[in-house]
């Protein structure tokens, strides 16, 4: 058996390193030197090793919450891992990520079950489009077989011929729950149902596993088709720490047949093995010392950057062509595709001749068939594919047909897109764009009319833009494509599609814009030297049409002068843009179509109260009534705010204004 070391020297060394590092981490945990917890993979080491030995630098891996072994098999960076878990600056992500969020080179991990699969699919699509020759590998446990994102992604991976290896580590337990309680049907039949070739190995016959894995990966590289590789294995230790309820006599047989335990026992007296073990242990000890003596990850500018800095705003005029909102969006996308070769548009029903439910992508697929793709109805998966594409140098634009369906993308948006940049210590860029129409007034009722932007506001490292009819979407998209660094959600109000966007203000108002990249438009009343506005109105998104109508009516009928602001960016948002106007009016009216409770208006008013409280600001909100949106026209009109609601609230605040 001594020739094993000759044949598999590197692989056995990797497996032993993983085992000893995990054991050392458990010891560090007991010593109270780790903050948080660790999920060890003791017993499963050979899975990561079997995959990593077949990969090259072009490939990408996505691991899960139990990723230490996968990482160490891929990059033998012990200091980087232990340092990361200890939260030290020598960690691969300088202590920002921790145990579950490790990133180096082509390796990524995230502690979200299932959500990493579409991200890997996106990366594999990028590999395919960029012709890097790389494949995407994603590790899913048997617990993840319960996640829908997995199946959405498998469908797409197979349909689109993406070079993805899905490694299923089947260790029989999801945290503490036995597979017998949660799993129906056959594991590999799942993959077969999607037309994905499935493989079956186990870690106890690890040399067979190596062979199978190699054959499997070679086939992926040769055919460009995905593969599913189920690897039966067993986790000898607890899911996390001290939460193992499995009876000892159940675990013991697995401990006895565990391949590393067997090998260690076999070579107890082999001097070569003893040397190897000593070397590894020394290496780990050095790494622990290095990590312990290293400083903590710093609270630097990157963490402090979102704190408010007061800035002044310069106002300027802009001109753009008057055209339908949908035409301008289409123009923006078309120009973007022409200017940026890495721009990819995916979404449901977006290809010509249909061109999207709202016709925003009409004609794009005819010109760029490779870069415009119809997807299945899998919002979560396509948002994840967008994330994966963005992380591998593409510029994905994902169309979500209705804003209401954004709920299905929540996981991808909150736990993936918004997190990667920071928790991977700014080593990755994720310039993904999600476009989606929101808003009602078209009779589409409760699940196709909502304005739910508030659920996407306030997520650090994202930005939320919204269209209104006073700034051309084409200009906004051109700037966005040129400068995008952060995941960006663009909210396009449905009503605006059929309305004109134009720069010609209503009579008596001047149309000004801030000098920002995504400017706030302002309808500034032209009152001459003697007049001042009565109320500052902030309009969110598509309400711009109603607010503008209300402003004209308020002036004509009531002589109430509105100073109207229409922000193009909802997050981050700085209320300083209203300073000049609020100083004059001391009355703030925020108009939004969605629910008011904890909405954007609430944020604006809170900021105004904090910043301009000394002015004695009075504030009101116009928003939807607190109920789902009904279908019938008169009912919907009652529930969603229109120009009359704005007029009434403006009159209320001006008349009852009490400091």
């Amino acid at each position: 058996m001594s020739d094993l070391l000759d044949q598999y020297a590197g692989d056995l060394r990797a497996a032993l390193t993983i085992r000893f590092v995990e054991q050392r981490l458990l010891k560090l945990f007991s010593e109270g030197k780790l903050f948080g917890t660790v999920h060890t993979c003791i017993g499963q080491e050979f899975v990561g090793v079997s995959v990593a030995r077949c990969l090259n630098d072009a490939d990408t891996l996505f691991s899960n919450h139990r990723g230490h072994g996968h990482f160490l098999a891929y990059r033998r960076n012990i200091v980087g891992l232990i340092g990361e878990i200890m939260g030290k600056s020598v960690g691969v992500c300088a202590g920002r990520g921790g145990s579950q969020h490790v990133q180096q080179d082509g390796f990524y991990s995230n502690g979200i079950q299932g959500g990493i699969v579409p991200v890997t699919a996106g990366m594999a699509l990028a590999h395919k489009m960029q012709k890097t020759g790389g494949i995407g590998v994603v590790y899913v446990g048997d617990g993840t077989l319960g996640e829908g994102a997995l199946y959405e992604s498998m469908n797409i991976i197979s349909k689109w011929d993406l070079p993805v290896l899905l490694v299923n580590e089947n260790n029989l337990f999801a945290q503490s729950t036995s597979q017998q309680q949660t799993l129906a049907g056959d594991i590999n039949a799942r993959a077969e149902a999607f037309g994905i070739r499935s493989w079956h190995s186990n870690t106890w016959e690890w040399s067979k596993l190596f062979e199978n894995m190699q054959a499997c990966i070679e086939e992926i590289r040769r055919t460009g088709r995905p593969a599913w590789h189920r690897v039966d294995t067993f986790r000898l230790m607890a899911h996390s720490k001290g939460d193992d309820n499995r009876p000892e006599d159940y675990v013991q047989p697995y401990r006895d047949k565990d391949p590393i335990n067997v090998l260690l026992k076999q070579h107890e007296h082999d001097p070569r093995w003893q040397t190897l073990i000593r070397e590894i242990e020394q290496e780990i000890e050095q790494a622990v010392q290095q990590a312990e003596s290293a400083p903590w990850g710093a609270v630097d500018d990157a963490i402090a950057r979102n704190t408010h800095r007061a800035r002044g705003y310069r106002w300027m005029r802009k001109s753009f062509e008057k055209e339908k909102g949908v035409a301008s969006v289409r123009k923006g996308l078309e120009q973007g595709m022409a200017d940026h070769e890495n721009l990819v548009v995916i979404g449901e029903d977006i290809e010509s001749p249909y061109g999207g439910a709202f016709k925003c992508t009409m004609g794009l697929s005819a010109r760029w068939p490779e870069r415009v793709r119809n997807t299945p109805i899998s919002e979560g998966a396509i948002a994840g594919i967008g994330n994966g594409l963005a992380m591998r140098g593409m510029l994905p634009v994902v169309e979500i047909m209705f804003g209401d369906f954004m709920t299905l993308c929540m996981d991808q948006w909150i736990n993936h897109a918004a997190k990667f940049k920071f928790m991977f210590n700014d080593k990755v860029r994720i310039p993904v764009i999600l476009r989606t129409p929101m808003g009602g007034k078209r009779g589409y009722a409760a699940t196709h009319s909502q304005s739910i932007e508030k659920h996407f506001l306030g997520l650090p490292d994202t930005q939320v833009l919204c269209l209104h009819h006073r700034y051309a979407p084409a200009m906004m998209y051109a700037d966005l494509f040129r400068t995008i660094e952060l995941p960006t959600l663009v909210i396009e109000n449905k009503i605006l599609y059929g309305q004109n966007v134009h720069a010609e203000p209503p009579a008596g108002f001047d149309l000004l814009f801030t000098d920002e990249l995504f400017p706030t438009a302002r309808l500034k009343p032209e009152l001459g030297a003697h007049g001042q506005a009565d109320v500052t109105v902030l309009s969110v998104g598509g309400m711009s049409l109603d607010v503008e109508e209300a402003a004209v009516r308020l002036f004509q009928d009531e002589e109430i002068v509105c100073d109207v602001f229409m922000p193009t960016r909802l997050y981050p948002f700085d209320v300083g843009v209203l300073e000049q106007s609020l100083t004059e009016t001391r009355k703030l009216l925020v108009v939004e179509e969605g629910q008011g409770f904890a909405g954007f208006g609430a944020e604006v008013i809170a900021q105004a109260a904090e910043r301009f409280g000394h002015l004695g600001i009075a504030a009101r909100r116009v928003s939807a009534t607190p109920n789902p949106i009904p279908a019938a026209r008169p009912l919907e009109q009652h529930c969603l705010p229109g120009a009359s609601a704005v007029v009434n609230k403006a009159m209320e605040i001006v008349r009852e204004f009490v400091h």
Binding site: G498, A507, E526, L527, G531, V552, G616, R655, V658
Partner: protein, 424 residues
């Protein structure tokens, strides 16, 4: 107008051309082009018009053979279901094509002269019914079409018949302001050039300034009492310059017992020095002290002798100081109370050093206390301030900025603490 102006009863309409609903996006679409000219003969099934929706360009065909009448020209935006054209049995009249969707209300106000009807031309009739206008002109026959060259540019045939006051395209006028403008027959574009939103107060200010200007030009101005009668006293907005409302409160004795100091100095040239010295002794020293010891009934008269301009029902406490040197710069409206210990100043004169170094220049600005305002005990009103109608300055405040009407201010410097509901 004849009965033929009613489209429903018009014979000879063979087919209507309407905008179909094609997509869920659009409520309004654009007429991209007409493939036939106004008045031209079109065949059934012929494509006559392209309509641009957000989805595509639709070709609309005529459903009958006949003369094409274009209602909405190329470039017009029309709501779904709207009539964009018709096919007529006989050639239509001069095209009155509406190009601008915002235009209907002001599209045409006078019939073309070619119509032959004299009455509308003499007395402009406001009509927003484009169809009726067109039908009326259509009744004049086909030569108008030939004459105007037909087609989409036919609107030129009605140029020159617009209302004298061209449509307002850069201003919005409030209803209240419009009423006054109509009453006084003003041209808003000239009167309020540079003003986008025209409010009632802007019109009032304009009228006041016009009146003031006319009175200066006029050799024999009407007496102040007559002026008050003809020009109603109007509460002005806070930022109104005091000078423009002074005249409203001017009464016969407003120049003081011996006339206005500044005006007198101007009239008398070099001799004014002696007069000014006398004036100073009389007004500022003698009367200035008299107001403190005089019986209450006499105080107002003494202030008027000093030159303070004031309306009816004013109360000024004997301990109040209503300017020490330039009382003529103070204007007080009707029903104003100035309570004990108040100081109303119209000038600031700093020590020599500060003045000569320019650090604190000499300030001399009028103060206006509008109708019904109340100056609380021990308050100070600084030069240049206008205290708006029915406003309250609470005790011990120092007012440095204008106080809007129906407002309560407090503190040093005085800040708005409350606004009263305004009577409608």
């Amino acid at each position: 107008m004849s009965s033929s102006t009613e489209p429903n009863t018009t014979p000879g309409v063979l087919a209507e051309i309407r905008v179909p609903r094609e997509t869920v996006n659009d409520d309004v679409v654009t007429v991209q082009d007409w493939h036939a000219r106004h008045g031209e003969v079109v065949r059934a099934k012929q494509h006559v018009c392209s309509i641009e929706t957000s989805k595509a360009v639709l070709e609309v065909e005529a459903e009958a053979e006949g003369f094409l009448e274009i209602i909405h020209a190329k470039g017009a935006e029309v709501p779904i279901g709207e009539l964009v054209g018709r096919v007529l049995q006989s050639a239509p009249g001069a095209s009155d094509v509406v190009r601008d969707p915002g235009a209907p209300a002001r599209a045409r106000d006078i019939e073309p002269a070619a119509n032959g009807h004299t009455a509308p031309a003499a007395a402009p009739v406001r009509s927003s019914n484009r169809l009726r206008d067109r039908m009326a002109s259509g009744s004049t026959g086909t030569e108008a079409v030939v004459g105007s060259g037909a087609g989409a540019s036919g609107s030129s045939s009605v140029s020159g018949h617009e209302l004298p006051a061209s449509p307002i395209t850069t201003q919005t006028i409030s209803r209240k302001a419009q009423r006054l403008i109509d009453e006084h027959q003003l041209d808003p574009r000239a009167a309020f050039a540079g003003l986008g939103l025209v409010r009632e107060v802007d019109v009032i200010r304009f009228l006041e300034q016009r009146t003031a200007a006319r009175m200066q030009e006029s050799p024999s101005p009407p007496s102040p009492a007559e002026r008050l009668k003809s020009e109603p006293v109007v509460a002005s907005e806070p930022r109104v310059q005091a000078a423009t409302v002074n005249s409203a409160y001017a009464s016969g004795k407003s120049k003081g017992l011996f006339g206005d100091a500044a005006a007198s100095a101007k009239d008398r040239g070099n001799r004014s020095v002696i007069w000014l010295a006398w004036n100073y002794i009389w007004r500022n020293w003698f009367l200035g002290h008299m107001v403190r010891i005089a019986p209450r009934g006499v105080i107002l008269t003494l202030h008027k002798w000093r030159g303070v301009k004031m309306g009816r029902d004013v109360f000024i406490d004997p301990t109040a100081i209503v300017e020490t040197a330039f009382p003529e710069n103070i204007t007080i409206g009707n029903d104003v109370r100035i309570t004990a210990g108040c100081v109303i100043m119209t000038h600031i004169k700093a020590p020599h050093y500060l003045r000569e170094t320019g650090l604190v220049p000499v300030v001399l600005k009028p103060v206006v206390l509008e109708d019904h305002c109340f100056i609380g005990v021990n308050s100070v009103v600084m030069p240049g301030v206008t205290v708006g109608k029915a406003s309250v300055v609470t005790s011990g405040s120092v007012v440095v900025n204008n106080v809007p009407p129906y407002t309560m201010v407090q503190g040093n410097p005085a800040k708005v603490i409350k606004q009263f509901p305004r009577p409608e």
